[in-house]
């Protein structure tokens, strides 16, 4: 069950370093044309590993409101 409502990717800031993808424990994101892209929002657990480690402010996770 996805815990993220939305994964925002600020493409103009993404430098394609792959850190977010490497540290994503669920495979919710992937690299596409040297930038990060959402692969499967459903898989995202909103663990924030990607957002915390992105050096470029380029990926932002919007958590779902508590159900």
């Amino acid at each position: 069950m996805a815990k993220a409502e939305r994964i925002e990717i600020i493409e103009k800031w993404c430098k394609g370093c792959e850190i977010c993808v490497e540290f994503c424990p669920t495979g919710a994101i992937e690299m596409r044309d040297f930038k990060v892209a959402v692969k499967d929002l459903e898989k995202c657990t909103a663990c924030m590993q990607c957002e915390l480690r992105c050096p470029d402010f380029a990926i932002v996770i919007y958590k779902k409101d508590k159900e």
Binding site: K12, C54, D56, V60
Partner: protein, 269 residues
């Protein structure tokens, strides 16, 4: 969104100049969260840096920011602090900036125990000038000026700080984002010279030529080789080979320089 950095970032300055996968951007975020966490007003912060990739950080944050000359940030910061002790003064720079050209200023700030927070961004290399060896490049490692492998010994930055008299010394890494934020906060709150060595990765200058295929692999190396100081206490020397400790390595209560000066000269009764 877990955290909104916009409040502290200067508008229109992103993307920053750092390379893809350079971990300095991660530290910038930790720094913002740490400052936000302790609630300092932006007007009351002076962020001073030297020259190098790390030293470009102040340009991105909305404080009183001073990008000085190579290695000299601590000298400038000392003047700022003495002229206005109410300011929270942070000096930061790379390992070359702080411990090679700025090494003398670094040890003397520690010796005085002046109330400055000093962050050393240690990426084991001179990033900005294109991968020359620094005082922290490991023995045998490749750099453009050690093409046969580094022959010099390294500085151990935290020992240098402790030996020079700093009253708060910690180590953290770019991988340990929450820990990094915590160490920064503790350093800010400590009265006296606080030094935090932050292990960073320069994938462009150091990583590629030293068997790290990706930026992420450098972060994984940090994760695997860092041992929390509390845990390290129960580990044998053999278990600690190839590891380094993270956490608060040294913390003592000791008179702060400006307070001592002020009472000594009669500025404060």
């Amino acid at each position: 969104m877990s955290y909104d950095y916009a409040k502290y970032l200067r508008k229109g300055k992103l993307p920053h100049i750092w390379c893809a996968g350079c971990t300095y951007g991660i530290i910038l975020k930790s720094l913002i969260r740490a400052i936000d966490g302790i609630g300092w007003a932006k007007d009351d912060i002076a962020l001073v840096s030297g020259i190098g990739c790390a030293s470009r950080l102040p340009g991105y944050v909305d404080f009183n920011t001073l990008h000085t000359t190579h290695g000299r940030s601590i000298g400038f910061a000392t003047g700022v602090k003495l002229a206005n002790p109410k300011l929270n003064v942070i000096a930061l720079g790379g390992d070359g900036d702080m411990t090679a050209i700025g090494g003398n200023h670094f040890i003397h700030a520690c010796r005085r125990n002046i109330d400055l927070t000093i962050f050393v961004f240690n990426n084991n290399i001179y990033g900005m000038t294109g991968a020359q060896y620094s005082p922290t490049t490991p023995k045998g490692a490749w750099a453009t000026t050690s093409p046969y492998g580094m022959a010099e010994n390294t500085f151990e930055i935290t020992s240098l700080a402790i030996g020079s008299g700093a009253s708060f010394v910690a180590r953290t890494t770019a991988y340990h984002v929450a820990h990094c934020e915590k160490m920064m906060k503790e350093a800010f709150q400590h009265k006296g010279t606080s030094v935090v060595e932050i292990i960073n990765a320069c994938p462009t200058g150091f990583g590629r030529k030293n068997k790290f295929k990706t930026p992420a692999s450098m972060l994984t190396w940090m994760k695997d080789s860092a041992v929390n100081i509390e845990r390290a206490k129960n580990m044998s020397p053999e278990e600690l080979v190839g590891k380094y400790t993270i956490g608060v390595l040294h913390k003592v209560d000791k008179p702060e320089y400006i307070e001592t000066y002020d009472t000594t000269v009669g500025l404060k009764k």
